[in-house]
Symmetry: C2
Subunit: 128 residues, 2 copies
DNA sequence: GTAGGACCTCACATTGACGTCAGGGTCAAG
DNA sequence: CTTGACCCTGACGTCAATGTGAGGTCCTAC
């Protein structure tokens, strides 16, 4: 498939796909005219890249860990440690976000309750 | 307290604290000479700001929702909806990150198993 | 009253993952 | 062989939070 189709299939812009290639995250065959051509498996790969990016991994980090994701045979102690570090970081970030989520959820609940009440503006002002 | 102390207490740089003020997220009293002065409660407030930033809220979004966090009396339907939207977004992001976390955890597990195998001579040295 | 560390206000630089424009080549269809 | 949609390579723009440097001010201690 060509870059436009892959973009369509993944939700990533052509610009992003070229950027991923530039960062070494995504390969492509080229036609004689120089146009990129992707196998169907590229869809899954792009999804993985975007998922890792969304999780806060940088493209260079993804560059480091991607080979061992797609080819499990490649493993080094350094790579293992890197994966562990990233997992720890993601876990920390998840916990932090969950705390923040609870703050927001508490606010939403408070508002929902407040809106149900007739005119009790000071119904539950018991938070710091 | 002065900006340096607040920076020390919160882990935010003085530059960041001035930025938060510039964005309307953080108030400060000024001395006659123009230097910022903060009450002790500012520590908690900065922590909240940073937590929301870390959760992916932009400073302008935080600007919108902060007043109702610190002063529960202020509530409008628009603000409630805004909070709900942000909560939904954070929840989506959390689910996405948890899926990615599982991918990473799966890899780490796979590696861990591989490293338990007999001839794993490099058990301890995990330097970068 | 003076040293010097902390602080002030601009204002430009940086980083990362893209958007976007310019100028030109490719390719399936007619 | 020409059209027109799609694609190419630069290269500069963006956005948000922050770094950084210049040039000047404040304030506590001596």
């Amino acid at each position: 498939m060509r870059i436009g189709e892959l973009a369509e299939a993944t939700g990533a812009s052509p610009r992003s796909l070229r950027y991923y290639e530039e960062q070494g995250l995504l390969g492509s065959a080229r036609s004689t005219g120089g146009q990129r051509h992707y196998p169907p498996t590229a869809v899954e790969r792009v999804a993985l890249i975007r998922s890792l990016l969304a999780a806060g991994l940088s493209s260079s980090t993804i560059y480091d860990v991607l080979p061992c994701i797609t080819e499990q045979a490649i493993r080094t102690p350094a790579l293992t440690a890197r994966l562990r570090d990233e997992l720890t970081r993601v876990d920390d970030q998840l916990r932090e976000m969950q705390r923040t989520r609870e703050v927001l959820a508490g606010l939403v609940d408070h508002y929902a309750v407040a809106e149900q009440l007739p005119h009790a503006a000071n119904a539950a002002p018991t938070s710091a």
